[in-house]
């Protein structure tokens, strides 16, 4: 009998009884059935117990083998610890997470990307298996508010990685409603096209375990060609990944993706923005698929869900709030605004995390009266659909009107194709509006228009507050590693006279 609070280890144990030989995880040549996964998880948990790890202690997991990574993370939870995924993007963030999490143990194996001299407490998965006991007689039943996992944010906007505390309540609630809305069943064979250290990756694996499906996992970094190859080889019928992987399929591998399309029954697109054109193209490439896009943050997972087929007229939105989740938009004074009005998106519900590790004050500044302030800028329309326009802290305040730079960029890119550009704030030269919008185009070559004439044309296409007051050329646009424009740096460059005025 499944409890209301279904844990990932409970899901695995249930399916190890129901369909023991069914493949749970496939990575390269390695196939692990539910029975084998249960044994692997239980043995690693046993190894942790024999190593003296106490309930509630933090254990970092850093393995390049995706099956071991998943099994070790689940084993930590089964043992009663808190699992922490180590980031894989830079030595700096890797060390920062180790320093912040202060784990009792690091479970590792294979090749380590970074040489960090703080891993005297590292134990390999094999080592834990060699001392591990067999399955415990009974499953542990955690309380809803126990912390199961910690995932670190990328720190793109704040510059600081934050360890987000995920409770069993949040994991269980999101897993339950994702399965319901996606209408997943035990026949799902899904390629999880996401980096192993990403919360989305683990989220998909635990959702698949919940329904007794099969996860196809990448053994290295994500190669789009290998994704299609694995789906073909294993009869895959579901793809889950971030927007960029779908954009790669649509724009660079369209024929190969389309050929595979009819066998796909489900697709799950993670929360990064996708254009309406790409959403329609995705539907066309995957004619038999139920495609779901979600909006969420590490701090408030899967706030909204958008099943494309159910709401063809709302593809520009991120959907409606998920079951049990409430979303509202507030002004700078934290007053709820009217439908259609821009403001900061706030979220409340079981999906909201329990806090930041070691940063209680920061959490209190973002979470009050049961609402988590996302720092995302958006609005809710009259039908209850949520539209996200960008980061609230990136919004340009033009005389009290908030302008979402992403939105302006999308329009400008259509008019200036083939050139990379960024929108940012500059002080109003007339000193009336505070800040105004400016645009920088990358490169030294002037565009084939007269800026002042072009600008006049823009007034016909967008609200006047959105029209750039000035335009510049930038030899190279400052970008983050995630490919986002560093707007503050552009503002500084403009102020320092480092941009060429058009």
């Amino acid at each position: 009998m499944t409890s209301q609070l279904e844990t990932v280890f409970e899901s695995i144990f249930i399916h190890a009884e129901r369909r023991p030989g069914h493949p749970a995880l496939i990575a390269g040549d390695r196939v692990v059935s539910y029975r084998e996964l249960k044994e692997l998880v239980a043995s690693i948990a046993g190894g942790l117990r024999q190593s003296g790890v106490q309930t509630g202690e933090r254990i970092c997991v850093e393995t390049h083998d995706p099956i071991d990574h998943f099994a070790a993370s689940v084993a930590v939870m089964l043992h009663g610890g808190t699992s922490v995924a180590l980031p894989n993007d830079s030595a700096e963030s890797y060390e920062a997470v180790l320093n912040d999490a202060q784990p009792r143990l690091v479970i590792t194996n294979g090749v380590r990307r970074f040489e960090v001299h703080k891993l005297s407490n590292a134990r390999s998965a094999e080592e834990l298996l060699s001392v591990g006991e067999r399955c415990p007689a009974s499953l542990r039943q955690p309380s809803a508010e126990d912390i199961a996992m910690i995932y670190y944010t990328s720190g793109t906007s704040s510059g600081v990685r934050k360890g987000v505390l995920q409770s069993y309540r949040a994991l269980s609630a999101t897993g339950r409603y994702i399965c319901e809305v996606m209408q997943l069943d035990e026949n799902v064979v899904e390629y999880v096209a996401s980096p192993i250290d990403n919360a989305f990756w683990f989220g998909r694996c635990r959702v698949l375990a919940r329904v007794g499906g099969t996860a196809l996992l990448s053994t290295g970094n994500l190669n789009p060609l290998n994704v299609l190859s694995a789906l073909r080889q294993h009869g895959g019928n579901c793809i889950a990944g971030d927007t960029p992987i779908f954009v790669l399929f649509l724009h660079h591998m369209s024929a190969r993706f389309r050929a595979l399309g009819p066998q796909i029954r489900w697709a799950k697109v993670a929360s990064q923005a996708m254009s309406i054109e790409d959403k329609r193209a995705l539907q066309e490439h995957l004619p038999n698929a139920r495609i779901i896009m979600n909006y969420g943050l590490t701090e408030a997972m899967r706030c909204c869900l958008l099943p494309f087929e159910d709401y063809p007229d709302k593809l520009g939105s991120v959907g409606r709030p998920s079951p049990g989740v409430s979303v509202r938009v507030v002004s700078d004074k934290r007053q709820v605004v009217l439908p259609g009005e821009l403001g900061e998106i706030e979220v409340s519900g079981d999906n909201v995390a329990s806090g930041y590790l070691n940063q209680e004050e920061l959490w209190r500044s973002r979470f009050h009266d049961g609402w988590y302030a996302t720092a995302d800028l958006g609005y809710v329309d009259g039908d209850g659909f949520v539209f996200v326009l960008g980061r609230n802290d990136e919004a340009i305040n033009v005389g009290g009107r908030k302008v979402a730079p992403n939105e302006v960029e999308v329009q400008l890119r259509k008019l200036i194709p083939g050139r990379r550009l960024g929108v940012f704030a500059i002080p109003d030269p007339a000193r009336v509006l505070g800040d105004v919008v400016a645009m920088a185009i990358e490169g030294v070559e002037k565009p084939d228009f007269v800026w002042q004439e072009f600008r006049i044309h823009l007034f016909e296409l967008m609200p006047s507050s959105n029209v750039p007051r000035e335009a510049f050329l930038a030899l190279e646009l400052p970008m983050t590693t995630n490919g986002k424009v560093k707007r503050r740096v552009l503002s500084e460059m403009a102020a320092a006279g480092e941009l060429i005025k058009l």
């Binding site: 390269g28 053994t219 290295g220 970094n221 073909r232 790669l248 660079h252 024929a255």
Partner: protein
């Protein structure tokens, strides 16, 4: 024209803007090369397709673990006659 291992390494350096002094060790994995993420895979595959004037077949990189594996697979692929390409869309 068939590619050599050195030519593929040079290509990797060019695509990912690596210094000429970049060290290719036998155990080096694509994930450890700066910039070689899923977009990096796309970039380098498109470069290879442009150089060889052929579409890379699905499955070619299935068994690639290290950069050395990648170089060997690309060299071998460049030596195959065009007809051996089993493009999925074909």
């Amino acid at each position: 024209m068939p590619l050599t291992n050195d030519a593929v390494r040079e290509l990797i350096c060019r695509v990912f803007s690596l210094p000429t002094t970049f060290k290719f060790t036998p155990e080096l994995r694509p994930a450890f090369v700066p910039g070689w993420d899923s977009f990096g895979w796309m970039s380098i595959m498109m470069e290879i397709e442009a150089i060889l004037s052929r579409e890379i077949p699905i499955g070619l990189f299935d068994r690639v673990v290290t950069v050395d594996d990648f170089c060997n697979v690309v060299v071998e692929f460049s030596r195959q006659p065009t007809s051996k390409s089993d493009d999925f869309a074909a």
